[in-house]
Symmetry: C2
Subunit: 546 residues, 2 copies
């Protein structure tokens, strides 16, 4: 299985070094007995308040090192992947950050963590430190389990007890609050597949039609396998499990929506949407996430954690922290505002006449309509063979709408043509022609001089379309023609310039910027670009009629 | 392919609704012509400054809606998955947020986006708005490409131009700066596999031994396929491509490390570590990420983007923003501090003698050593059959070290036994016994009364171990024995209580809390728990010797 790792034995130390060197909080540090003892801790810590220490096996990033910082953890003790840190590592952390105020160890309910943190706590007490422990066992997957697992709900304890410690609350109060919190957290996970420990061969664990409900954050088996279904249904199943656990009451809840590892952000947003459609959401006041908080390596799943709120919890949850991995908190029920969109009706143009203008338009359209087969033929040698059809259809549209066009008003005529071509011509050429006419109209309104207005239109088309002269596009005949007009020369001269420009494209070997697919450059040789041919024919026909 | 989605046609609208309802910034809103027009915008926006509008196809979350907020974007216009938003959607956004100061459109270099944003810009100008556009084409994968793709480097433009707009800079200055920025950004991606558009059948695109270098954020083909290798090597390849593009100079750079979708956090941290080991990193002053910034659905890859820094860029990059998806910025070269770990030497205990104490220890150890086979036999019926070996080995250790133990000092003896058992007994029972003796010693130091000290030890063992009386553990014989001693009764009575307690476990059908594996409850019936049997035999032998 392809994974972004180096040596298996270096995974955790490299990950922590990578984290420490890139996290915005440069006050974080590591103990210098690291990498053997993997402890991340604050250096801006004066020991005057209760130290908050958490940790456990790695593989749950950003937990736990990502939550070290003012207002949350003082230190994180990290084990190897899914393995508890050693007693010595925990003890080193305690000794490094604990002052007179003592420390609180926040431990997820796994035997290894309980025992290693527990023994370290007893050792530290023998050394004279004040140490308390709170154990979080929030997983409700297995009803009546002897040892409920500790999962993402632990974040509630980090945040709320962390707030109390930062406020200067004494150890007994912080630890009592932490244990009290741990007793009112309810979590469950659901995953489309289990995780794979780097270096291990992935198991084909679940069928393509199955998902696992209530699995642990180390890929432990869940409470049941259920059929894969829409996100809304899977979320409903997970939420109803939690609703069973919390029972009926008027209690209000805070909720964490946790990405277990590899769910793409757009799918987490869909899960958030689905969550808010459940009846459980109506009991929720505070939302944290969706975010990667307590992951399980590459697990393609989510977990939800509920905290039954006490009055003092909200201030603690909402208090800002300088911890990059903490995603912030949202008050549910805040209205998602609707901003009235300004009604953008199709612009209306009063029809008006001008014989000369109508003559030019007729000539241009006739040129395109009669060139349908020739242009398709050219295009079929280098593209998908529809240039003639696209231009001819657009021209027919313009002819059909002719008596509705404001032909007596150049500015409005340009905008009307832009609107017409954007709606009916389609594709990139439709958008480009619409841009050309809109920009030309806007320029003509300012300058009242067609040659420079046309040049401004062409320039905007170049800017937005990204093509330059020589790229085998309609620009190669359009620009020389407009240049001629700007130089004060006749329409005949402009048509000749357009023709020369179009013919020259046959010797250009660069694929057009707008081409949908790559064309081998030697197959371009000798073929005139159909777009520039179309423009040349338009100028020729117009010159002939004038 | 299992994905967390509902109806395919609702993916983007549900994701945006999920985002809007959970993002901590409740001032974000949507235009009420949504879901047809998918525009996310600020409602705390007074139009006095230049509006910053970006957008494009969806599937790149948190881009672009996640970057709407004070200091970055004013509005994000979102298309369907990998599809440009319509001209009308862009125009709605412009009209909704643009005042006298005008607006800047920041567009990634894709034909559809250029043309739809471009036509909308021209339409808006015709309506009297001041509109500028900056196009970002930062992908250096294909050297000399006619149309370099716009990828995660676009974030540099959002952040720096967003800062200038927030400071009140006029439109010409902001748009000129944005275009200037776009000209000095260099990005490349590398992925272990391509992305899968929800609802499409996944392609088996790359071999198990291949990775793709330089692929686009829509799964477009990359510049080459290279052999899968360690993260450090893959990062080196990506970085050397960027180094080729930027050439030799003394320029300093800012760098974005972007998660393209489904790389687990721990692997992004390893990639960050690997990145910082490259020669490219020595030219980097500012680091943003690793983070999901511009993803490509579920793509299991990363991209790096470099910005050649100008003096004014740093202030803009480091300025804080109230935008949840912005990961913050790290100054490279900030020392990652090392905190000296307090040397936690093994505690040293001066040997001392006490005949009575030595007699008790000898009796206890003898009981365990001679019970090896019996205890293994009991354990083999319910577990892995090693309880006898574990206890006997620990007892032999204690006997071997007997003349080094501080037998004349109860407190120190307890701590010495704790240390010995933690190091040599191993497993959960080793940690539990170490906790028992450490806590007993700590309590005896306070109380100088063995029965209550032993009870405190047992209580700490229960707290950290998580077992209760009745769970079929050593507690079931240990607690009754200590109870007897606390009641002032003889060691004989304590031994009888322990024996009764052990025998009673044969009728308990609950698997022990510390058991490694689940045991069917009917196979427990009639079998005495080996841990409680061990404790009973210790008390019986001690009573017999005293």
């Amino acid at each position: 299985m392809k994974r972004f790792i180096n040596l298996k034995g270096d995974i955790v130390t490299e990950a922590l070094d990578g984290f420490l060197a890139t996290t915005p909080d440069s006050s974080l540090a590591r103990l210098d007995s690291y990498p053997h003892t993997k402890v991340v801790l604050r250096t801006d810590w004066d020991k005057s308040r209760v130290a908050m220490i958490s940790g456990g096996g790695s593989g749950h990033e950003p937990a736990h090192s990502g939550f070290v910082g003012e207002g949350m953890l003082t230190a994180a003790v990290c084990g190897e992947i899914f393995a508890s840190p050693s007693v010595n590592a925990v003890l080193s952390a305690i000794v490094a950050v604990t002052g007179e105020a003592g420390c609180l160890l926040i431990v997820k309910n796994y035997t290894g963590d309980r025992l290693n943190f527990g023994l370290a706590a007893e050792r530290a007490k023998a050394l004279g430190y004040k140490v308390e422990m709170a154990i979080v066992a929030d997983d409700i997957a297995i009803p009546g389990a002897n040892q409920a697992r500790g999962v993402a709900g632990t974040l509630f304890v980090h945040k709320i007890a962390g707030f109390m410690a930062a406020q200067g609350a004494p150890l007994q109060q912080v630890s009592q609050a932490a244990r009290d919190l741990a007793g009112r957290i309810y979590s469950i996970g659901l995953s489309l597949d289990t995780c794979t420990v780097p270096g291990n061969t992935p198991e084909q664990y679940l069928e393509a039609t199955e998902v696992e409900l209530g699995l642990g954050i180390h890929g432990e088996p869940g409470v049941s396998r259920i059929a894969f279904a829409a996100a809304a249904h899977l979320m409903e199943v997970a939420c109803s499990k939690v609703e069973q656990a919390i029972g009926q009451s008027d209690r209000r809840y805070a909720l964490i929506l946790n990405n277990l590892g590899s769910v793409p952000p757009i799918e987490m947003q869909i899960l958030a949407y689905s969550l808010l459609e459940t009846s459980l959401a109506e009991r929720v006041d505070v939302i944290i996430g969706p975010a990667q908080l307590m992951t399980s390596l590459d697990m393609n799943g989510f977990s939800i954690s509920l905290l039954a709120l006490e009055p003092q919890d909200k201030e603690a949850l909402f208090s800002p922290v300088a911890v990059a991995a903490w995603p912030g908190v949202r008050q549910r029920g805040d209205t998602v505002s609707l901003v009235p969109a300004v009604l953008l009706e199709r612009p209306e143009f009063d029809p008006s006449s001008d014989a000369g203008t109508e003559e030019v338009i007729h000539a241009a359209c006739t040129a395109l309509i009669t060139s349908l087969d020739d242009l398709n033929q050219l295009d079929s040698r280098i593209g998908d063979g529809d240039t003639g059809t696209t231009f001819a259809n657009a021209a027919r549209c313009v002819v059909d709408e002719m008596d509705q066009l404001p032909c007596g008003d150049g500015v409005r005529l340009c905008h009307a043509l832009s609107d017409l071509l954007a709606r009916h011509m389609g594709g990139s050429s439709g958008a480009l022609m619409a841009i050309f006419f809109a920009a030309t109209g806007e320029a003509y309104e300012r300058t009242r001089y067609w040659p420079s207005a046309l040049m401004e239109g062409a320039e905007r088309m170049m800017f937005y379309g990204g093509a330059k002269p020589g790229d085998r596009t309609m620009l190669d005949s359009l620009l020389p023609a407009i240049d001629a007009l700007q130089a004060g020369r006749s329409m005949d001269d402009a048509a000749k310039a357009a023709r020369n420009g179009a013919d020259a494209t046959a010797k250009m070997t660069k694929a057009g910027a707008g081409r949908a697919s790559y064309v081998p450059s030697d197959s371009l040789n000798g073929v005139v670009d159909p777009g520039s041919e179309a423009i040349a024919r338009v100028f020729e026909k117009v010159a002939q009629r004038l």
